[in-house]
Amino acid sequence: MGKPHDGGTVMTTQADFERLAVIDLARHYGRRKALSQVNFLCDAGEIIGLLGHNGAGKSTLLNILATLLGASRGRVEYGGRTAAAAGADIRARIGMLGHDLFLYPELTARENLVFFGQLYGLSDVAARVESALHRAGLGDRADDFVSGFSRGMRQRVALERALLHAPRLLLLDEPFTGLDQASNRALVERLRECQQAGCIVVLATHDLDIVDGVLSRSVFLHNGRQVGEPGPGTGLRDRYQKAMSA
C-alpha cells in the first residue's frame, strides 16, 4: 500500500498502473460485431468520454475495460499488463458505476458501503465509509434504506461505492441520467476531484452539454467502430454531430 486513503488520493499498489491502452479491440456476439478495431490510450488524470448513439458499443467497451467481458480480438493493457496476466488484483484498481447503480435497496447506505468495503478487503472500513458518506452529503441519512432515496441520492452513494477503494480506473455508464442540475454539478465536481487525484476516468454518456469542457478527450463510436476525431468545432455537440455523420 502506498498513500493512505483520504478520499481524494488514488492508492498505489503492486497492481497499479498509470496508463490504460486499448489496442485493436473487438468484441463479437456470434456474427454481430458489437465492437471493432477500437484503439486509444489514456493516462492518469485524464477524463475520456465514450460518445455514440445507443447500441454503438459504449457499454460493451466499459464491460471489457472492467474485466467483466472478454475481448474477441485485441487487448486492453493496464500499465502494460493484460487483465489475464494481472489476475484478480487488477480489479482492486478498477471502480465502476453502472446505469443500474449496483446498490442493494434493502440495505442502508452505510450497510451497502460497508459490504463492498469488506468485499474489497479494505482496511479501516468504518472510517472510509464515514468519510464516503460525508462526501456524498448523506451523513444524516446514512442509516436509511437506499430504497427510500431519490435517484440523485442513490447516484451519490453509488459513486462513493465505486470510489471507496480509491481506484486508478473509474468507469461510468451514463452517470448523468435522471439527475437534476444541482446533482449534475456535484457529479462533475467529484469527477474533477478524481482527475486531480490521478484517476483515469472513462465515461459513456449522451449528455454532451454537461461534459463539454470536462472531458480531456473523446472517443467517438458508431455501430461498434471508432470514428476519427472530426477536427475543430464550436463545441462537443458540434464535433459529435460531425463525427456521427462522417
Binding site: 474485466t67 488484483d89 449496483f102 442493494y104 469488506q118
Partner: protein, 228 residues
C-alpha cells in the same frame, strides 16, 4: 488464502441473510409453495388415512426440488434487479468464493424450508421421520447440496437471460435427476415399515459422490462462465 476465500463467502452469506431477514420474501414464498405442494398431494394420495406405498419420499423430494427452484430464481432476481451481481464480480475477490457465499445462503434458506416441510410430510403421510433421523438428515443434506450446487451455477449464468425463469428448470432438472433419484430411493428405503439401512447408506454414499463432482465442477467453471 483459504481464510480470505471463506471470509468473502461469509460476507456474501451475511449480506444475503440480512436482506432476507428484512424482507422474508424468499423464505415465506418458498415455505408457502412447499406446503401447498405437499397438501395438494396429500389430498390425492392419502386414501382413508393411508398413503400409497413410497409416495411420501417422492413428494418430499418433489417439494424440495420445486421450492429450491423458486428460491434459486428469487435469490438471483434480487442480484439482477440493480445489477449487483456485476458489482460482486467486479470485486478483487476469488469468484468461486462468491459462488460459495451464494450457495451457502440458499442452502440455509432451504434448510429452514425443510424444517417445516419434513415434519409436514411425516404428519400427512405417516412417515417415520424420527426413527432414523441421522440417515434422513444425511439424505436431505446431500440431496439439497447437490441440487443447489448445480442450481446456483445455472441461476447465476442465466441472470441476464430474458427467458431465465423458463430456462432454469429446463437446464437444472435433467442435470440433477441422479440426485433426485438417489434422494427418493434412499428416503423410500428409510420410510419402509422395516427400514433398509443398507440401501439408504448406498444412496447416501452416491449423493456424497454427486456432491463432490457437482461442487468441484461449479467451482471450476464459475469464473469463466461469469466472465463471458
Amino acid at each position: 488464502m483459504m481464510r480470505a476465500f471463506f471470509r468473502v463467502a461469509w460476507i456474501v452469506v451475511k449480506k444475503d441473510l440480512t436482506v432476507e431477514v428484512r424482507s422474508l420474501e424468499i423464505l415465506s414464498t418458498t415455505i408457502f409453495f412447499a406446503v401447498t405442494v405437499v397438501l395438494m398431494f396429500s389430498f390425492g394420495l392419502v386414501v382413508d388415512g393411508r398413503p400409497l406405498n413410497d409416495v411420501a419420499a417422492a413428494i418430499l423430494w418433489v417439494a424440495i426440488a420445486f421450492s429450491g427452484t423458486l428460491a434459486l430464481g428469487r435469490t438471483f432476481e434480487r442480484e439482477r434487479h440493480n445489477d449487483t451481481l456485476r458489482a460482486l464480480l467486479l470485486a478483487p475477490a476469488d469468484r468461486p468464493a462468491l459462488y460459495v457465499g451464494k450457495l451457502a445462503g440458499i442452502l440455509l434458506l432451504l434448510a429452514l424450508v425443510q424444517v417445516v416441510l419434513v415434519p409436514l410430510v411425516g404428519l400427512l403421510f405417516d412417515a417415520p421421520i424420527f426413527e432414523h433421523g441421522f440417515h434422513l438428515l444425511a439424505l436431505l443434506a446431500g440431496g439439497t447440496l447437490g441440487f443447489t450446487a448445480v442450481g446456483t451455477l445455472f441461476a447465476a449464468m442465466l441472470v441476464r437471460a430474458r427467458s431465465r425463469d423458463v430456462l432454469l428448470p429446463i437446464m437444472l432438472y435433467p442435470m440433477t435427476v441422479p440426485v433426485m433419484i438417489a434422494g427418493v430411493r434412499g428416503t423410500a428405503a428409510l420410510f419402509q415399515p422395516t427400514p433398509n439401512l443398507e440401501v439408504t447408506q448406498f444412496w447416501i454414499a452416491l449423493l456424497v459422490f454427486f456432491d463432490v463432482v457437482f461442487v468441484t465442477l461449479a467451482l471450476w467453471t464459475f469464473d469463466p462462465v461469469m466472465t463471458d
